[in-house]
């Protein structure tokens, strides 16, 4: 009961397969990052269930086998269910060691930087795919929903019986509809998510607990085989319906590598920041030198112009002083003549 009740708690990343959130689910970069919720249930039975295959076998028969042209899409769909299952298994494998106190801090740091990237990646991929198979998606989804409604309700009924939270009840009631009615509705992120699970806001962090993650994983994988399925024939392969066994070692490797990637991205950003600071400091010095040069040039020009004006003033003064000089010169000439007359008289 408790193990199945844990089925109600999934980490859902992106709107894959269901084209419901096509227009509206976009994580803004400044938005609160997702954080996988602490998995308090026992993770061992869950891991066993994941690795052993899935109980939703009636849906497995519906997946038509792909042709060679569709192998590519299946390859695309394969890695996507894998990371999602990886994310869900991560929450469970992390829940297994049963160390709650250092975990939220570690997970908050490691999953904080990693989860936004992963969540945005999942959402971008989810955004791409609904645009691709949007015309066939709703019809296929409705058919699938009608067939899977049984096990979906059984899942949620079990989760309700196991004492799921009121959010699970609300999610069960909300997920009773095959699809959220408005396809063109521009809902906010929280209201779009509230249909698919629980949203808890904790200041900057947002917790999201999705319901029926396995169904979504199947839905994300199904349409890629559904579209080209009727064409090449269903005999090409029947193994595309069920999720293959997940390797926990690979998941842990993915977790570690994702943490490393996040750390390296942090370092990269820090290095870029420091480099830019150094560049701007250098440029500030350069421009201050330029400013000093320009100021001294302006001062020199100012002095030069002052000197020019002073020269003009002195010249004007000199010009005024020159006025009595010609009269004086005339008098001196007269005196000279007088003197010569005297000299002539004396000789």
């Amino acid at each position: 009961g408790g193990a199945v009740g844990a089925a109600a708690r999934r980490t859902w990343r992106g709107s894959e397969g269901s084209s419901q959130q096509r227009p509206c689910v976009v994580t803004p970069p400044g938005h609160a990052p997702f954080r996988p919720p602490a998995n308090r249930r026992a993770g061992a039975p869950r891991a066993a269930r994941l690795s052993g295959g899935h109980s939703q076998s009636p849906r497995a028969g519906r997946r038509s086998g792909p042709a060679s042209a569709n192998r590519k899409r299946h390859k695309q769909s394969r890695p996507r269910p894998l990371p999602q299952a990886a994310q869900s298994a991560r929450t469970q494998t992390r829940g297994t060691p049963q160390s709650p106190s250092p975990e939220p801090a570690v997970r908050g740091e490691g999953a904080g930087p990693a989860a936004p990237l992963a969540s945005t990646a999942g959402q971008w991929r989810g955004k791409r795919t609904p645009g691709g198979h949007a015309p066939e998606g709703p019809a296929a989804n409705r058919r699938r929903h009608k067939q899977a409604a049984r096990d979906e309700r059984s899942l949620e009924a079990l989760s309700l019986a196991a004492g799921g939270t009121g959010a699970a009840a609300a999610a069960a009631a909300a997920a009773g509809r095959p699809q959220p009615p408005p396809e063109g509705r521009r809902a906010t992120l929280a209201s779009a998510l509230e249909l698919e699970g629980t949203v808890l806001r904790e200041g900057r962090l947002t917790q999201f607990v999705a319901n029926n993650l396995e169904r979504r994983i199947r839905l994300s994988g199904a349409p890629r085989g559904e579209q080209p399925g009727p064409g090449p024939g269903p005999g090409a392969g029947a193994g595309a319906s069920s999720i293959p066994a997940i390797d926990p070692g690979a998941l842990q490797d993915v977790v570690a590598l994702a943490g490393q990637v996040a750390a390296q991205v942090d370092e990269l950003l820090r290095a870029v920041h420091c480099g830019l600071q150094a560049l701007t400091a250098l440029s500030v010095g350069c421009i201050q030198t330029y400013r000093d040069g320009v100021e001294s040039l302006g001062e020199a020009a100012d002095l030069s112009i002052r000197a020019m004006y002073a020269l003009v003033a002195r010249c004007e003064e000199l010009d005024r002083a020159m006025q009595p000089v010609p009269a004086l010169a005339k008098r001196i000439r007269d005196m000279k003549g007088t003197l010569e007359r005297l000299e002539g008289l004396c000789k």
């Binding site: 990646a121 030198t289 040039l297 020199a300 030069s304």
Partner: protein, 112 residues
Amino acid sequence: PHDLTDKFTESMYVLANEPSVALYRLQEHVRRSLPELAQHKSDMQSWEEQSQGAIYTVEYACSAIKNMTDSSVYFKSIDSLLKHAIAMKDQLNAAQGRSTVAPQAKNPPASS
């Protein structure tokens, strides 16, 4: 298709590239125009020095002319004295002319 890493690398590229290019252009402009500014500044300083020299020259000339105009008094007195001297000389000449006529009649028997 453009996945997360593409978008991230593009954003990192833009983040690192735009300020670098901008700052490079800034320092390039500064580097190009600083020597010209320094040249203009030295030109201005030389012109200012020449102007100062010219100012001092004009100042000396102006003071010289002022002193020259101060000497007009002396020239006036010189002129009057000269005129007096000419007048005296005329009187002396006139007096000597009269005196040379009178002793001219007594002088030749005295001087033979």
